[in-house]
């Protein structure tokens, strides 16, 4: 049995302390282009745009700490060191024990104090100063794995006293790591032996590449065991973020975080940064838009609803005399009124303004209204999503432009940087706008939503103006640099305003939603 059945009821964060409380406050300084991993995330000094950086945390920001791989190794190492100083077992053994205990140091120490033998045996370790050693085969020895019997070959003896030739151990561990992706439970190959091959033995057995992979795998299992640490979701990004946001807080906050490589994402759901929309609403929205949007668009464009049962009906030929397949109601396609009153007017309807026809149309307007409401928000959301994709193209153009500026106009590299910086602001604003529509869709109408939508349309207007400025010729851009920077500054401020107001509403629980989540 490999599962460890100690019940771990500790609070998820109880055994973790921050060594450094000065969180990176870089939320606005780094952004990325789509989900591209090539972004260098270079420091983006926008003091001239936003003014000096505030020391205090803004309401829409969440405390977090970007962790590189080295930081993660250091955290693991310090957990090992701590437990080592208390339990006085070899560090190798401690590392294996911590893995078994999902890196809950305090839990391990407590259990070990209660019953050391049980902890050791269930974790597959043996309390010995040396957990492995190499030795030379005595004559007549044959390795039971490869059947090699060369005299004096090198053998590895594990702490459990089982041995085999060194090359078999090498192949065995490499196979486990490379093919099966195991870092935990790399056990002695002997049948029914639970002894875990220690880290230091693996280090001397396998090639450096395989060992690095092994370390990466164990780092992954460490991160998995922590609710407060998540990997950056960007492709090929190997940094992580630590954030103490709790699940229930996700109803009142959107934990946008930025990793050490400058990628921003949501800590709650590991999707892209979706300020100001809550994680739960993002999930609902994505489901809805994936399932419904195209269908809804088509229904809106091509169908009308039966005025009795609201079934959508497509008219694909024939006259105006309709008969609903669902409820058998007969009506006129033009005025939606009851057919009985139409007599023989098959191809002409003159009853559009009749009281009866008007009432029928009103009856169907409610459900159409909700569909139209959804499409209103969805189309704006989709528009910004698509524009954000096109932004990537624009970005490439922008880079070219800044080269032209440097070469033809003699603008310095630093000066030409304003283009890519401005572009990042545009991209970020689009993303915020996009999610603000998803958010607004789920809001119940009130005076606060009116203010929110005003902020939204202000930003939208400014974003489109800024976007237009990017279409200018390189020479024109140089002339109108001030205008571009002003617009950027404005867009940046409007974006902050929008997410700030939204975050205030979230933390004060002012927003009312049209859905339960």
């Amino acid at each position: 049995m490999s599962d460890f059945d100690y019940n771990d009821n500790e609070a998820p964060y109880s055994d973790f302390e921050f060594s450094d409380q000065s969180f990176d406050d870089t939320e606005d300084n780094n952004d990325e282009i789509g989900y591209s991993s090539t972004d260098d995330g270079s420091a983006f000094d926008d003091d001239d745009i936003y003014g000096p950086r505030a020391d205090t945390r803004k309401i829409y920001e969440t405390d977090h700490k970007a962790l590189t791989k080295t930081d993660l190794f250091d955290i693991c190492q310090s957990l090992i060191d701590d437990a080592h100083s208390i339990l006085s077992l070899p560090k190798d053994t401690i590392a294996t024990l911590l893995q078994t205990f999902n890196w809950r140091r305090d839990n391990l120490i407590e259990r070990y104090m209660e019953d050391p033998d049980k902890v050791l045996s269930t974790s597959g370790v043996i309390d010995k100063p040396t957990t492995f050693q190499f030795e030379t085969a005595e004559s007549g020895y044959m390795c039971y794995i490869c059947c090699e019997d060369t005299p004096n070959m090198e053998l590895l003896r594990l702490g459990c006293n089982h041995r085999a030739c060194r090359s078999c151990f090498k192949y065995y561990t490499e196979q486990k790591i490379n093919e099966e992706g195991t870092s935990k439970d790399l056990r002695c190959p002997n049948e029914n032996c639970t002894f875990v091959i220690p880290d230091s033995a693996i280090k001397v057995l396998v090639t450096i590449d395989v060992y690095n992979k092994y370390k990466d795998l164990s780092l992954k299992s460490f991160v998995r065991s922590r609710n407060s640490i998540k990997w950056c979701p960007y492709p090929d990004c190997d940094s992580a973020v630590e954030c103490l946001v709790r699940d229930y807080e996700l109803k009142t906050t959107v934990p946008s975080v930025t990793c050490a490589n400058g990628h921003s994402f949501c800590f709650g759901c590991s999707l892209e940064d979706h300020q100001p929309c809550l994680c739960a609403l993002v999930k609902l929205w994505l489901q809805k838009s994936q399932d419904d949007s195209e269908t809804a668009n088509w229904i809106k464009a091509n169908t009308k609803e039966c005025s009795k049962c609201h079934a959508p009906i497509e008219k694909n030929g024939g006259c105006n005399h309709m008969k609903c397949k669902t409820c058998r109601h007969e009506f006129c396609w033009i005025c939606m009124g009851d057919w009985i009153k139409h007599g023989q007017a098959y191809y002409n309807c003159s009853r559009y303004d009749d009281k009866d026809s008007k009432e029928s149309r009103e009856a169907i307007s409610d459900s159409r209204h909700s569909l139209e409401r959804y499409l209103h928000y969805f189309n704006r959301y989709a528009n910004h999503e698509q524009s954000a994709r096109l932004d990537k193209k624009t970005y490439i153009m922008v880079v070219k432009k800044s080269k032209v500026l440097q070469e033809s106009i003699g603008m310095s590299w630093i000066q030409a940087q304003f283009l890519s910086q401005s572009f990042k602001i545009l991209h970020q604003a689009r993303k915020t706008l996009k999610w603000s529509y998803a958010f607004a869709y789920y809001l119940e109408k009130s005076h606060v939503t009116t203010i929110f939508e005003d902020n939204q349309s202000d930003l939208e207007f400014a974003v489109e103006q800024l976007s237009e400025l990017f279409e200018m010729d390189a020479s024109e851009i140089a002339d109108r640099k001030v205008q571009l920077l002003d617009k950027c500054s404005y867009v940046g401020k409007r974006r902050i305003k929008l997410i700030e107001e939204a975050a205030k509403g979230l933390s004060a629980e002012e927003w009312k939603y049209v859905v339960d989540f």
Binding site: Y144, I145, C146, C147, E148, S167, C168, Y171, Y172, Q175, K176, E179, P189, N190, E191
Partner: protein, 151 residues
């Protein structure tokens, strides 16, 4: 020398000297696949019947588990057993996650033999039909969940 080759040569030379009772080496023409006939001696459901097992070894053998399954033939049916599917695939932990390089062809045969000898239920696995319909060619590519170790 290649571990896989050396190990199989050794296993083959041992097998040629004689296998435990109930096992007959049918062919081991090349070193990548062997056929072994298996019978169950004791008073069991399978008395008097011969079954044929196929072993396929990858170049990573013995680090990697060999693919082992029953293969049908005119006189050699697939045994009926709650852990053996109608297509010959066997659900046995040592043929998946439980494999270690200490095991070998003969030890696998013995495990299967005892799995048959200890069974008194004349049934296919409950999910036989759905599994056989969608199963990959080799049992090794299936991920079994070993829910019952008593049979």
């Amino acid at each position: 020398m290649d571990i896989c080759k050396r190990r199989l040569m050794k296993e083959l030379s041992t097998a040629e000297k004689g296998l435990p009772s109930g096992l007959t080496l049918v062919s081991a023409n090349d070193l990548t696949s062997w056929y072994i006939d298996i019978t169950v001696d004791s008073n069991s459901l399978y008395q008097g019947q011969i079954y044929r097992l196929m072993f396929m070894y990858s170049p990573n053998y013995p680090m990697k588990v060999p693919n082992v399954q029953f293969v049908p033939d005119e006189n050699r049916p697939i045994p009926i057993h709650p852990h053996i599917y109608a297509n010959g695939h066997i659900c046995l932990d040592i043929l998946g996650d439980g494999w270690t390089p200490v095991q070998n062809t003969v030890s696998v045969c013995l495990s299967i033999q005892s799995m048959l000898a200890g069974n008194h239920t004349n049934e296919r696995p409950p999910d036989n039909d759905s599994y056989v319909r969608s199963a990959p060619k080799y049992a090794q590519d299936s991920r079994f969940i070993y829910h019952d170790d008593s049979v």
